[in-house]
């Protein structure tokens, strides 16, 4: 069994309105050193797989087909073998 932790974020070229709002809030709390904030998504997927390589291939396909929209988002993931 594998567990993938997928992180989806807006591409740098895309305005992130939530990130901008959080940035303003942090500054208003006195965190004046904050330069930028990007808000993304954290998705955990548990899957069966014969090998780490096959699991990674599947997760990559899931990301490009559904979990992220390649027009506006980038994704990355970490994969770990876990016990049921």
């Amino acid at each position: 069994m594998f567990k993938a932790v997928v992180t989806v974020t807006f591409k740098q070229s895309i305005l992130d309105p939530q990130g901008s709002a959080v940035l303003k809030a942090l500054r208003s709390l006195g965190f004046q050193d904050v330069e930028d904030v990007r808000v993304g998504k954290h998705i955990e997927v548990l899957l069966q797989g014969e090998s780490r390589e096959k699991a990674a291939q599947q997760i990559d396909a899931m990301c490009s087909k559904l979990l992220a929209n390649p027009v506006i988002e980038d994704y990355r993931f970490e994969l770990a073998e876990v016990k049921r």
Binding site: L15, P17, N69
Partner: protein, 234 residues
């Protein structure tokens, strides 16, 4: 002219669209359940507004994989008329039938208001009944209506005349003040390359009767019928 309105779990403008086609336009219309496999015999498909699948993951992201959507794609690719309104527009971009994407309004607010739009072209099946460069008033109601695409895509849309509606002032000027949601180049509605698939954030079905505040939206539905009567066929 036979219309079909696709119903997803979470659609909430399906009844409005059905009402306008049936009672105002006087054309045959039926609901199409997202879980069906086959489209019925129709000439124009409407993807209505709402919050399909609760907008989970991204707006339109999950609706795209409903069983009916393979038939919708095939229908569109064969030249069938497809009108995506609001969530319908978001679904069309997720499907790749229209380029770009719709993201959260920079205001972070759900913008529910009347806006002015300039009709950029009146030679499409969707806009025949508008005057050239007519300014119309149609409501918007969305939190994710900010249209984005890369510069090459935007330039391509402009070059091919595929921007159909743009947020404008009442006088038809394209200004930042007239843009309710930060959409790049004030884009409110675009068409595909073949000209048979239109996506738009504003809601024409909400201003198709005098009692609802105007008829500017009805002209879009009338355009489809006129186009058909004048021999437009898929």
């Amino acid at each position: 002219m036979r219309f079909g309105v696709v119903v997803f779990p979470g659609s909430n403008c399906d009844a409005d669209c059905h009402h306008v086609v049936d009672r105002v336009l006087g054309q045959p219309v039926e609901y199409l359940w997202h879980g069906d496999k086959q489209l019925k015999e129709i000439d124009c498909l409407i993807l209505p507004g709402g919050f399909s699948y609760g907008d989970y993951l991204r707006t339109g992201a999950i609706a795209r994989f409903s069983p009916l959507m393979d038939s919708v794609r095939e229908f569109a690719e064969q030249g069938g008329l497809v009108l995506g309104i609001c969530n319908g527009f978001q679904i069309l971009t997720e499907m790749g039938l229209l380029p770009g994407a719709l993201i959260r309004n920079p205001s972070l607010q759900f913008q529910c208001q009347e806006v002015h739009l300039r009709v950029e072209r009146n030679d499409t099946p969707f806009t025949l009944c508008y005057a050239p460069r007519q300014v119309v008033k149609i409501p918007i109601a969305h939190a994710e209506g900010c249209y984005v695409a890369d510069r090459d895509t935007l330039d391509l849309l402009e070059r091919e005349g595929r921007v159909i509606f743009r947020y404008s002032s009442p006088a038809g000027e394209i200004t930042a003040e007239a843009n309710p949601n930060g959409s790049l180049r004030n884009i409110a509605g675009i068409i595909n390359e073949k000209g048979n698939v239109l996506g738009m954030m504003p809601h024409p079905e909400r201003c198709a009767e005098t009692i609802m505040g105007g008829l500017d939206g009805l002209r879009l539905f009338e355009s489809l019928v006129k186009w058909r009567e004048e021999g437009g066929a898929r």
